[in-house]
C-alpha cells in the first residue's frame, strides 16, 4: 500500500503487535494494549460519523424541525436536484485541479529543493512550508486583498495597461483554485521530498553515463521513482481540497458554493441539519471512492516501485 494510506490507518494498527506464538488461548494483551487507541478512534471519529449518518436519515420540516423518522428522502432530494449536482461537480473539479497544480508545482519544487546547497535549502523549505504556519483565515484574507477588484494584482495590471477592467478572482473558481493550491502545495512537497530521500543520487549519474540527456533522466529514471510520493501527496491534497471550508468560504463566498460550505449553510442558515448531514456523508463517500479508485489504478501501474 502507498505510504499515505499507511499513515492514515497507522493510529489503529501500530499499537497491535502480532500475537505471541506459544499461547493457545485467545491472547488478551494485544487487545488491551490497543484499547486506548481504539477507544480514542471510536469516540472522536466513529461515533460522530455514525451520528451524522443517522442524522442524514431524519427528515426536516420548516415548522416541525427535525423529524425523528428513518428514510432516504434527503439522499433522493440531492440525487434528483441539479443544484446539488452542480455543487458536487464544482467541489471535485476544484479538488482535481488543485491536486494537478500541486503535483505540477510541488514535485519539481521538491526536486529543486533537494539539489540546493545547505543554507539556501533550509530557507527555501521554510518558505514552502510557510502557508502551514499562518492561520487559514488570515492567509485567505490576504489572498482576498490581493485578488479584489481594487486589490494589488488588478491595480498593478491595470496600472501597467495590460488589462482595462479588473480580472475577477473573487467569487470565482480560479480564485479558489489558486488560494487552495497555495495552502496545499507543502503537503505535496513534503510527500515527494520523502520519496526523493530514498532515491540513490548516483542513479542519475548512472543514467547520464549511459548516454541519457537531462530530460530523459528526469522522465525515465527520476519520475517513475517518485510516483509513489506524488500519489500519496495527491491523495492528501485531494482529500483536503475536496473538504476545504475556510478558503472556499472566503474566496468563493455565498455565490460559489462547494460541498463543505453547502453543508455549513444547511446546518447554520437553513437549519436543515438532516440535509447538511446528507451532504457531508455524500462528500465523504465520494472522497473515499475517488481516492481508493485512483490509488488502485496507479498502484497497479507502478507495482514494482511500491514493493
Amino acid at each position: 500500500m502507498a505510504a499515505s494510506t499507511e499513515t492514515q490507518v497507522s493510529g489503529a494498527q501500530a499499537s497491535a503487535p502480532p500475537p505471541p506464538r506459544r499461547r493457545r488461548r485467545w491472547p488478551l494483551a494485544p487487545y488491551l494494549l490497543s484499547a486506548p487507541g481504539l477507544a480514542l478512534c471510536a469516540v472522536l471519529l466513529l461515533v460522530p460519523l455514525v451520528m451524522t449518518f443517522l442524522l442524514s436519515l431524519n427528515s426536516f420540516s420548516f415548522y416541525g424541525g427535525i423529524q425523528n423518522v428513518w428514510q432516504l428522502g434527503n439522499y433522493a432530494d440531492i440525487i434528483a436536484d441539479d443544484y446539488f449536482h452542480e455543487v458536487f461537480l464544482r467541489t471535485f473539479r476544484i479538488a482535481a485541479l488543485v491536486t494537478l497544480l500541486c503535483a505540477v508545482f510541488g514535485a519539481p519544487e521538491a526536486y529543486i529543493l533537494r539539489r540546493m546547497k545547505s543554507p539556501w535549502r533550509g530557507l527555501c523549505l521554510l518558505i514552502v512550508l510557510g502557508p502551514l504556519l499562518i492561520s487559514v483565515v488570515s492567509r485567505t484574507l490576504g489572498w482576498a486583498l490581493l485578488f479584489g477588484s481594487t486589490g494589488l494584482v488588478n491595480q498593478g495590471l491595470m496600472g501597467l495597461g495590460l488589462i482595462a477592467t479588473p480580472i475577477e478572482f473573487m467569487y470565482t473558481e480560479t480564485g479558489v483554485v489558486i488560494a487552495l493550491t497555495h495552502v496545499l502545495v507543502p503537503f505535496m512537497v513534503l510527500s515527494v521530498w520523502a520519496s526523493l530521500q530514498r532515491l540513490d543520487p548516483q542513479v542519475e549519474n548512472a543514467a547520464l553515463s549511459l548516454g541519457a540527456g537531462p530530460l530523459t533522466v528526469m522522465r525515465r529514471v527520476v519520475l517513475p521513482q517518485i510516483v509513489p510520493g506524488i500519489l500519496s501527496g495527491s491523495i492528501i491534497v485531494f482529500a483536503l481540497a475536496a473538504s476545504a471550508f475556510a478558503t472556499p468560504a472566503i474566496i468563493g463566498g455565498r455565490r460559489l458554493k462547494v460541498a463543505a460550505t453547502l453543508a455549513y449553510d444547511e446546518f447554520l442558515n437553513t437549519l436543515n441539519w438532516p440535509l447538511g448531514a446528507t451532504v457531508a456523508v455524500l462528500l465523504l463517500i465520494a472522497n473515499i471512492v475517488i481516492i481508493v479508485g485512483c490509488n488502485r489504478l496507479v498502484e497497479r501501474r507502478y507495482k514494482q516501485v511500491f514493493e
Binding site: D200, N205, L208, S209, L210
Partner: protein, 366 residues
Amino acid sequence: MKGEGDDGMAYLVLDQLTKRFGNWTAVDHASLTVEKGELISLLGPSGCGKTTTLQMIAGFLDADGGRVTLDGKDLLAKKPNERGLGIVFQSYALFPHMTAAENVAFGLEMRKINRADRERMVADALKLVGLEQYGDRHPRRMSGGQQQRVALARALVIKPSLLLLDEPLSNLDAKMREEMQIELRRIQRTVGTTMILVTHDQSEAMALSDRVVVMNKGRIQQVATPQDAYDRPANAFVANFLGRTNLLPGMVGAGAGGGTVITVADSVWPVAQEVPAGPGALAVRPEKIGFVDAGGLSGTVLARVFQGTQWLFEIETAAGRLMVIRQHDGSPLPAERERVMVGWRPQDMAVMPADPDTASGVREAA
C-alpha cells in the same frame, strides 16, 4: 615513475589534472598514462583523491586544471552523457523500477539501437555475467552480487571506450568479493575493455590490476606493476600502504668503495637507486629478512610466534624494532632473548629519502 614515456601506446592520458574544494586540493596535478586494454587501479586510503579523479574522468565533477584525453580527443570538453564511458558505481545505482534486462537495455535505447539487436545484445551481456535466467527480475529481488553483475553488464553492453569501477566490490561479503574478483578478471580478459578501478583495498588492487597507481593526499605516489610497487616502493607511504614492511631510518652517503651506501645503525648497505645524500629510510619486507653470521644488523629476539607455515619474529635493533618472517622448514631458528644478526639481499630493499611523517618500525597496511 614507470609507465610514463611509452607514449606510443597512450590511450587515456591525465595531464596535470587538479581539483580543489575551497582551500583543500583533492587532486593535485595528477598525471597518468593508461594503455589500451589495461586494467589499472587507483589505490589509496579514503580521501586520497582517487574517487575525485574518477568523477572528473566521468564528468560528474569539473576539473580545476589539467587535461584528460581519450584516444587523442579532449574528454573534459564533452558532457558526461556524451563521453560514452561505462561506469560501475559503489552503490550499483541500478534503476529500481526496471528489470535487470531493462536496466541493461537502457544504454542501448539511448543509442537508438533497434529492438532485435538490443534484445540480442542484452542477452549476450547477461550471459557474460552469468545472469541469463534473471533478465526479468527487479533489482530489489536480487542479491548484492547479482546486482553487481547487472551493473557490470549495463556498463559493458554499450561497448564503452573505458570502464570506470568505483569501489565495485566493497559492498560484498568476503567470499563474494573473491568470486567477483576472479569474475572481473575473466570478463576483462574476454572483452578487453580498458578499465580503471578505484579501491582502497590493496589486495584487491594487487590481484586484479596490470598496474597500480598509489595515491595519497591528492598526489600520485607511484605508478607500477603490483609486484614492482610491492618490491620497490617509491617512498615510505607506498611501502607502508602495500602490505607489511620494516622501515628503518639511516644515513645515505658515499661508501668506502665509491658507490652510494646507506648506514643503518651498525650495518652498511649498498644503494643502487638514485637517492640524495643525507637522512634516508630503508624499507624491507619481513619475509625477505634472514639470519646471517656477519655483515648484518645486530639485535635481540624479543618474541617469536609460531604461525603454522611460518615463524614470526620481533627483533630489537639499534635502528628500531623489526618484523621478520621465516618459513617453518626445519632449519634452526634463534630462540627468544638470543643475540642475532639479520641481513637481506640489497636488491630486496628500497631506499628513500626520510619522510618526516613516518616514524621507524613495523607498520601494517590500513
